[in-house]
Point group: C2
Chain length 195, copies 2
DNA sequence: ATTAATAATGAATGATAATTCAAAAATAAA
DNA sequence: TTTATTTTTGAATTATCATTCATTATTAAT
């Protein structure tokens, strides 16, 4: 019997990330993804139920990875709350540094993923932020962080700003060095703009 | 001769905002927009070149309004830099408070608008941020703001955070009062999270 | 070698929905 | 009234792809 050669599923995902980043999910054609992955159009459907399924699998693996790394940070009792915040920011930046296309898809297709995945997307998002929120709570009880800040507001604040910065970086990676962005970002989150 | 009755263009735009917010630009059907606007499908094409054109006109008018209001703030010499920042934040919040659907479209369809409008979207975005940046510069020269903050980074930081907060509010307007969000937001921008 | 699976292909199918346009409706002017 | 002009209609046209599936290719086992 014939046997699978190479890793077509991986090839397809990688091509899809590229094409989704370039044209957006809705304008991306399965035939083009297949071509770039070096397989026939129909083969895509041997590995994925449909077009939505490709997007879902991309997000699942990203969130999975993000969440697992987050846990290693939040569970590290050697770190102070502020060190944990830094480590969390690093984790997100590191995750996306490798690949601007992945970043663009993650940032741009959130809404499509949301629509396509039932409530899977928002579950990931909330679970991640819930875990991160624990760190903020620690920081407040330890007296390091300002206790008047609403936790729900802060989580959307920080996620929105990081998302937009990564996006802008990913569009033109050479315009601003990611390390400078990261450094400024950490400062702004901690101290804001006023002296 | 027959004469135009009512304001069909406005009816279509309002319906489109609603439908775009509910289903997203690509899943939104012209026939459904027409139905909700109380006109025939074909009539949409008397007022708009095509579907893209509807989105473009929505954004144009939003950015136009945002930019004009920004100018009245930045040109007001009676205000200190920090008062201007507050006024700028108020202006954006006020703009979107009225209508969650407009907010959702503005936030979600940015990328489609970008693809569809040539570089019109990014011109608006940059023009707006350039004008806002002047205020930050004033704040730095007057010694109020921290001079180590990169202006390009700050603009994407603040825009991303405000965008996400408005989005989360618009999805479930009753979950968090917008005034509380606004208040926390102003504080975080100025002082960050640390005591 | 031959067979029996399984993998892979890509042209054909089908569904969807944007856009067009010939016909109908409305009304200002004659 | 009738006419001329402009607006509106919505069914027909058209374009675009996602998805399917009959066919072909490949190779492990016999």
């Amino acid at each position: 019997m014939r046997v699978k050669e190479g890793n077509k599923e991986k090839d397809i995902v990688e091509a899809a990330v590229d094409i989704f980043a370039k044209h957006g999910f809705h304008k991306a054609k399965i035939s083009q993804i297949a071509e770039q992955a070096g397989v026939a159009t129909g083969s895509v459907y041997l590995y994925f139920k449909n077009k939505d399924d490709i997007l879902i699998k991309i997000y699942n693996s990203l969130w999975e990875k993000l969440y697992n790394e987050l846990l290693t940070v939040t569970r590290n009792e050697a770190l102070s709350p502020i060190e944990k915040i830094d480590a969390m920011i690093d984790l997100i930046f590191d995750m996306f540094t490798e690949n601007p296309s992945v970043t663009i898809v993650f940032v741009n297709e959130q809404e499509n993923m949301n629509r396509v995945s039932g409530d899977k997307y928002s579950l990931f998002y909330e679970k991640f932020l819930d875990e991160g929120e624990k760190v903020i709570k620690e920081g407040i009880s330890s007296g390091m962080f300002n206790k008047n800040i609403d936790l729900k507001i802060f989580r959307h604040f920080i996620f929105g700003s990081i998302r937009n910065l990564l996006h802008q970086w990913a569009i033109t990676p050479d315009k601003l060095p990611l390390n400078k962005i990261r450094h400024n970002f950490k400062f702004l989150i901690k101290h804001g703009i006023m002296k």
